[in-house]
């Protein structure tokens, strides 16, 4: 994924001032380096005086498209100077499944099924597990400089907001989940870079549980072996399950105000006094003309190479029952190796045999998905055991 690194040209200009012209660099680190002479360099330890200077903004995205929102998240992470500015971004998406950076989408959902249902699949930049989003799920991203990254602060802030607004008691688990009566209402992931970092999490407000369940279901008969991060499945709950009044709009206002009224270094209430000193709420329109470079980020996130091509190597297999003429049941295992999202090879292992028989197929070199796998399986099912056995015994 990438950005034009700015070229720095220096020339004696009109007045003998040194002109430093540069392409608008979309790398925050670059811009900080060039102009740091005019601003004081940040110290690693934050004193309370420094924290007085930190102004907070709440950005609310005008888009419901997962790729646009992931792109603007990335844009802010790369381009904003967060030294004295902490940002909370609040965003909502149309129904989609979002997998972690190092995950295998085929382990987490029925990818082909999602496509048919019109549910987008996206791979985010941060690690962690898979989540399902819909319009009744609120996403929160906390942007800070790397040295002020604090997940517990963020999650506690959300918990406080929910309590202050609705009187609902939630707790933060060790795995950084927000729990309501022991069930998950939120999942967390983060990205730590230089000089910025972000922590994002979901909040289930009134999500459609049936849709969630069917989106995150895959064919269990297909066994997948891979080194990809596996999701830890947990039972979930909606905030609206305990209080019918909870809705996304009201909740985001509550969390936003809690963010603005809490000092950056302490979980306490600064009240209206502190809110008055902040930058406040802002709607953002994530389009190229407002944020140059955004389209490129979005295209990358929506590309096959990123979504599927980044899948860690895996092998998917299933067992096919063979019917024989002599009522003797046998089975064979078909294994498909997939690397970078492409079918590399297809193997057949007859039960009881240790021999591995490679299959020639036009599907080798094609992108993998469950549909293709089913085609392979169906093709193999139609071959009778006799043929298979004879091939084994007589060789090819």
């Amino acid at each position: 994924m990438i950005m034009n690194i700015g070229a720095v040209r220096q020339s004696r200009g009109l007045l003998g001032y040194i002109f430093t012209t540069s392409m608008r660099s979309t790398n925050a680190m670059q811009s900080n380096k060039k102009f740091s002479t005019t601003t004081s360099t940040s110290t690693t330890s934050s004193t309370s005086k420094d924290n007085e200077l930190i102004k907070k903004s709440v950005f609310i995205s005008q888009s419901y498209d997962i790729f646009t929102n992931l792109a603007i998240e990335d844009w802010i992470y790369r381009n904003y100077d967060l030294k004295n500015h902490h940002i909370l971004m609040l965003w909502v998406n149309n129904p989609c499944v979002v997998i972690g950076r190092h995950q295998n989408p085929f382990s987490e959902a029925n990818v082909f099924g999602l496509k048919s249902a019109g549910i987008e699949l996206a791979r985010r930049n941060s690690g962690g597990g898979t989540v399902y989003h819909d319009r009744n799920n609120l996403n929160c991203t906390f942007f800070t400089p790397r040295d002020r990254y604090d997940r517990k602060y963020n999650l506690n802030l959300i918990s406080r907001a929910i309590y202050r607004e609705y009187g609902i008691d939630t707790e933060i688990s060790e795995r950084d989940d927000i729990l309501l009566h022991g069930k998950k209402v939120s999942g967390t992931a983060a990205k730590l870079g230089h000089p910025n970092a972000y922590h994002h999490c979901t909040l289930l407000v009134d999500c459609n549980k049936n849709n969630l369940k069917s989106a995150l279901t895959r064919n269990e008969k297909e066994e997948i072996i891979s080194k990809a991060t596996a999701s830890v499945r947990s039972p979930i709950k909606n905030l609206a399950d305990v209080n019918k009044n909870v809705n996304v709009q009201q909740l985001l206002t509550a969390i936003g105000y809690e963010f603005l009224r809490t000092p950056a270094d302490k979980l306490c209430d600064g009240g209206r006094e502190l809110v008055m000193q902040q930058r406040g709420f802002q709607l953002i329109n994530p389009t190229e003309k407002w944020f140059p470079g955004l389209n490129e980020l979005r295209e990358n996130l929506n590309s096959w190479e990123w979504k599927y091509g980044k899948t860690p190597k895996f092998t998917v297999s299933t067992t096919i029952e063979l019917k024989t003429n002599d009522e003797c049941h046998n089975s064979m295992k078909v294994c498909v190796d997939v690397e970078k999202g492409i079918i590399q090879k297809i193997d057949l292992i007859l039960k009881g045999s240790s021999e591995v028989m490679p299959i020639v197929s036009s599907l080798i070199g094609q992108p993998y998905d469950e549909n293709n796998f089913e085609k392979i399986v169906n093709a193999l099912k139609s071959v009778s055991t006799e043929n298979v056995k004879s091939v084994y015994e007589n060789g090819l």
Partner: protein, 446 residues
């Protein structure tokens, strides 16, 4: 007497041969109309009506005093300060959705917040300043502003620099000008530094209204109106000072406005300002009468109006901008000419900046003097006008291509120079404003 080291003589001889026929034609026209003859008369001495004391501005001083602490009227009462500022932030439901960046036309869209502070003489002077979500004003029907145009305003911009920091361009000058306008309108004056701090806070809150590109800015419109609900033509004892912000892309609809030059209508029957008037203050009453004239110009296919004054058709301003002419003078030197601040001209901040830059640059002679249409016409015929451009906050520099004057099209070769002064000025100012060059004129707000 040389241009770039070459002697003048061959140049003059060549020019004379080239334009001889034009001079001849001009003579014929001069004889046909008496009025025109008068207009074509070029005076030896540069005389202009000395109504006010004409201050030849020094390099750093402005028309209105900037550096010194402002001297208020003794009975003005309390001043407001930034430390008193109260902020009421807009909640998510009060925010305006942001449109496509292309739809950001000048002055059509406003940000989410505004600044307001009231003045009541009866209550001791200036009251507590506040920032709140953008809302309508409620005025008594007898409010003086509605009857006698007791109003003044300012125009300035905030820029998001290439390093992400927000900068204001020479705000202290707008403040000085605004206080001077206030005095002339019978309105209360204020502490310039405190107001700039309040404006900075407002800009800081609404800074996400500026796209992250390098050609967008936030236009700042501070306004002062007299709201006392009495019909007497007297000083308004109550006033409202407020500021609204408008995100802008380029100034003229569509593009940046400098790929082609503008066309002007110069009609001496219309006068924008006059000696003893308020042409040198930014008061709303100066602008209302110009709307009809602008409409006439547009109908005839011209983009802006070139305002002339006097029987000798002096050039004063173009549209809402100051005017500059780059010409070759009688000594063969390149000279940058702009009308002087004699009371007819609004002392522009971009104008002042360009004069400073040009003097520092020292590549052209810089003169503030009267210039008439007769002179311009003569020089155009002799190919001695190199460039003409308008200068103002809205579009920084606007090159002029054509002037329609007395039924004649004067073509100005402004766009033809590759090494143009107007372009250099524009680029230098933009570099300062966008923080590409570190310069004391661009003040960071945080």
């Amino acid at each position: 007497m040389s241009i770039h080291g070459k002697t003048m003589l061959p140049y003059i001889v060549r020019k004379v041969f080239e334009i001889q026929h034009k001079l001849y034609q001009q003579q014929i026209r001069a004889c046909s109309t008496g009025r025109l003859q008068e207009a074509l008369k070029i005076e030896e001495e540069q005389e202009f009506p000395k109504i006010n004391e004409i201050k030849q501005p020094e390099e750093s001083s402005f028309y209105y005093p900037v550096d010194k602490k402002f001297k208020h009227d003794p009975d003005i009462g309390e001043q407001f300060s930034y430390s008193q500022l109260r902020v009421r932030l807009a909640g998510p439901h009060q925010l305006q959705p942001k449109p496509e960046a292309d739809d950001l036309q000048f002055g059509k869209l406003f940000t989410d917040h505004m600044f307001k502070v009231a003045y009541h003489k009866r209550l001791g002077g200036w009251q507590v300043p506040e920032i709140m979500p953008l809302e309508n004003l409620v005025l008594h029907p007898a409010a003086k502003v509605l009857h006698y145009a007791v109003e003044l305003f300012e125009g300035m911009k905030a820029f998001r620099g290439v390093d992400g920091r927000i900068r204001l361009f020479r705000p202290e000058m707008n403040m000085a000008r605004m206080n001077a306008s206030a005095q002339r309108s019978g309105l209360p004056t204020f502490e310039p530094e405190e107001f700039v701090k309040c404006i900075s806070r407002l800009v800081s809150i609404d800074q996400e209204w500026v796209p992250h590109t390098e050609s967008a800015s936030l236009y700042i419109r501070p306004t002062l109106i007299g709201i006392e609900p009495t019909l007497g033509v007297a000083s308004s004892e109550s006033a409202l000072l407020y500021t609204i912000l408008s995100p802008v892309g380029g100034y003229f609809a569509g593009n940046s406005g400098t790929s082609t030059g503008v066309s002007l209508l110069a009609d001496p029957q219309y006068t924008r300002s006059w000696p003893g008037g308020v042409g040198d203050r930014k008061m709303g009453s100066n602008y209302a009468p110009t709307i009809h004239v602008q409409k006439e110009a547009s109908k005839q296919g011209f983009q802006q109006v070139l305002w002339l004054y006097g029987d000798d058709h002096q050039l004063t301003e173009v549209g809402t901008m100051n005017i500059f002419v780059l010409l070759i003078n009688d000594r063969g030197e390149r000279e940058l000419v702009t009308p002087p601040l004699n009371g007819l001209i609004l002392p522009g901040i971009v104008r002042h900046s360009i004069l400073n830059l040009a003097r520092e640059w020292n590549q052209v002679k810089v003169t503030e003097r009267k210039i008439t249409m007769a002179e311009v016409k003569k020089l155009v015929y002799e190919n001695r006008v190199l460039e003409m451009f308008g200068a103002g906050t809205a579009c920084v520099v606007s090159p002029i291509e054509r002037i329609f004057y007395m039924n004649e099209n004067l073509l100005i070769p402004t766009m033809e120079n590759s090494d143009a002064v107007w372009r250099t000025m524009r680029n230098t100012l933009l570099d300062i404003q966008y923080g590409r060059v570190k310069h004391p004129w661009a003040i960071e707000i945080d």
